[in-house]
């Protein structure tokens, strides 16, 4: 139970984004090497904040 809650919190906050990316990358493009944690995080933030993300 505690474990599931923790996984949910990590998922909700985006704390596990890199792990999910690695899993997706390994499945979808196994021939390419994935981004580093740092580069991925920076790219994600830039993608995320290029649109309307916050409201009034």
């Amino acid at each position: 139970m505690a474990n599931r809650l923790w996984r949910f919190i990590r998922r909700l906050s985006g704390d596990d984004a890199y792990e999910r990316y690695i899993a997706h990358h390994a499945a979808a493009h196994p021939e390419e090497s994935p981004l580093s944690r740092k580069a991925f995080f920076k790219q994600e933030l830039e993608r995320k904040w290029a649109g309307v993300r916050r409201c009034c």
Binding site: H24, R37, K38, K42, L45, G51, C55, C56
Partner: protein, 690 residues
Amino acid sequence: MQGTILSRIGWLLVAVLGAAAVGGVALNRGESINALWFIAAAVCVYALAYRFYSAWIAAKVLMLDETRATPAERLDNGRDFVPTNKWVVFGHHFAAIAGPGPLIGPTLAAQFGYLPGTLWILTGAVLGGCVQDMTILFFSTRRNGRSLGQMARDELGPVGGMAALVGTLMIMVILIAVLGLVVVNAMKHSPWATSTVAATIPIAVLVGLYMRNIRPGRVLEGSLLGLALLLLAVAGGGWIDHNETLRPLFDHEGLTLAWLVIGYGFLAAILPVWLLLAPRDYLSTFMKLGTILLLAIAIVVLRPEIRMPALTPFIDGSGPIFGGTLFPFVFITIACGAVSGFHALISSGTTPKLLANERDIRMIGYGGMVLESFVAIMAMIAATVLDPGVFFAINSPAGVVGKEAAEAVAKISSWGFPVTVEQMETLARQMGETTLFARTGGAPSLAVGMASIFGSAFGQGWLSIWYHFAIMFEAVFILTTLDAGTRVGRFMLQDFLGNFSPRLGRTSWYPSVLLTSGMVVAAWGYFLYIGVIDPQGGVNILWPLFGISNQMLAAIALSVATGILVKSGRLKYAWVTGVPLAWLAIITTTASWEKIMSADVRVGFFAAADSMAAKLASGALPPEKAAVAPQLIFNLHLDAWLTLFFVAVLWLIIFDMLRVCTRHLQGKRVAALSESPHEPSRLVEDWVRD
């Protein structure tokens, strides 16, 4: 069978309880009424609407198809298109739609009494706002997550598309200006509030560096660190407030603070997102969710009495916070929390790309707005638990009640809301402020309300800490909206200018970044500046303008939705979005008409400009007011034209929608539905076969 009977009895009880609670809230004219009645009324109304109306919309009007693959499934790229657990999507969606709007609007609308605002929040949400969010979320999901502007262009035509784009840019400018004004009014001559808000900037930068360089991507660690520092900053602000050398550094006039906010907005727009904007957003999201939860618990634990009467004499339009009669202005003042057009920008574009299944649309679209509406009800409670005299003393601008404390309390008491100078001084001392008079904008009175609720629920001794915590909480996410809005405005402007010069359209070309950021900041900075120098407080002008623009955006969204419903052969259900659209058109047009044509100087822009010009010409203005009068006169004219523009855009898009619908019904050619073709979902295959 037994289950259905039990469930029917259960829902009947909810309906009876809800009717009793709404009736109790509506018909009570006694001394006071308990806040629990509000909570009961709200929860029952939401539960019934969600259980029955949203289910009916999902099944009959939109015909959600659980077996159809969502864009997240079909286009899964591990980034923006990702099939996601519905509770996670719900959390993201709610965090995105719930900003400072539902906290400020109800607080200002409390000048009419608790009843009009509360009824509008409940009915507006379940029949209007929730429906808008849900239908737009659905239509965007069926269109690969396309944005509202793109849908308007595809479904209605270039006119609709252009209106949506320009409308969004304008509303952004007005929104940021009014939010900036709220923060400035909360920080004015308050070293504690100013230093705490200022501290959030280095804290955000520190968290940004932590998440980017020290422990890349560790969002939770970084946020926890930041939250601890924010709480320290609240306590540290109190220390600075008592320190003779540091105090003057943070004690500023409104105008100085306005310039600082403008400068900050520019910096935030040009700095990399990871450094300031993103970490601030993590902090503000956690802070927002935590505080809302805490407020809900505190209200239920404490069950405070509402002191504000159900209706005040100000329903005749003579209110001190903003001028204008109950109809239409309560519907303009409370946009977020009832119907907010801005939500359509989140419901299209961002959230649809995460939906794992179409059936989640009901909970996320309709349910997300229900929760935001509940936040607005809590804000209404927090504002109305205050003594009405105190509420008006905090929120009435000096230009209306007078600059001196004695003058102000005499005026407010003469309205039938007794308050004394001592009472205000004691309250200010308890909250750790030198004065609470004329802090127009809603944030400080909400903070006093929250502090008294938290104080009674969790210990009286900490009032000043709770007050500044509430101020910091509001400021943190107001500033997030300001950063994010400026940035989005910049992208939209770059996109637009890119049509003329490809180089200007490049988001990474620094001269273009500086130019467009500067343009967006100058636009909202102008309105913020005027709001600060306006002796009437600025909020009375800017908030209705914001309300009108936000309802205009809602009307655009509902027009798109109605158009799609008609074009897809669901004319008999078009009233679901058509009725809220008609209501919005009525209130927005009436409000705009009054703002432009009214002879009352507290309502009509032109009337106010003429009256001020006459006073200026006759030399009746004191020198400090005469100095700013020409700017204010110009601004009043500008506001009138802006209002006219909003209402023109509103009708343009309504007529465009009606044109498309009529052509479709006559069997003439219209733009084809842009829905993406049906593909069976593989994610649900297994359970479908069972």
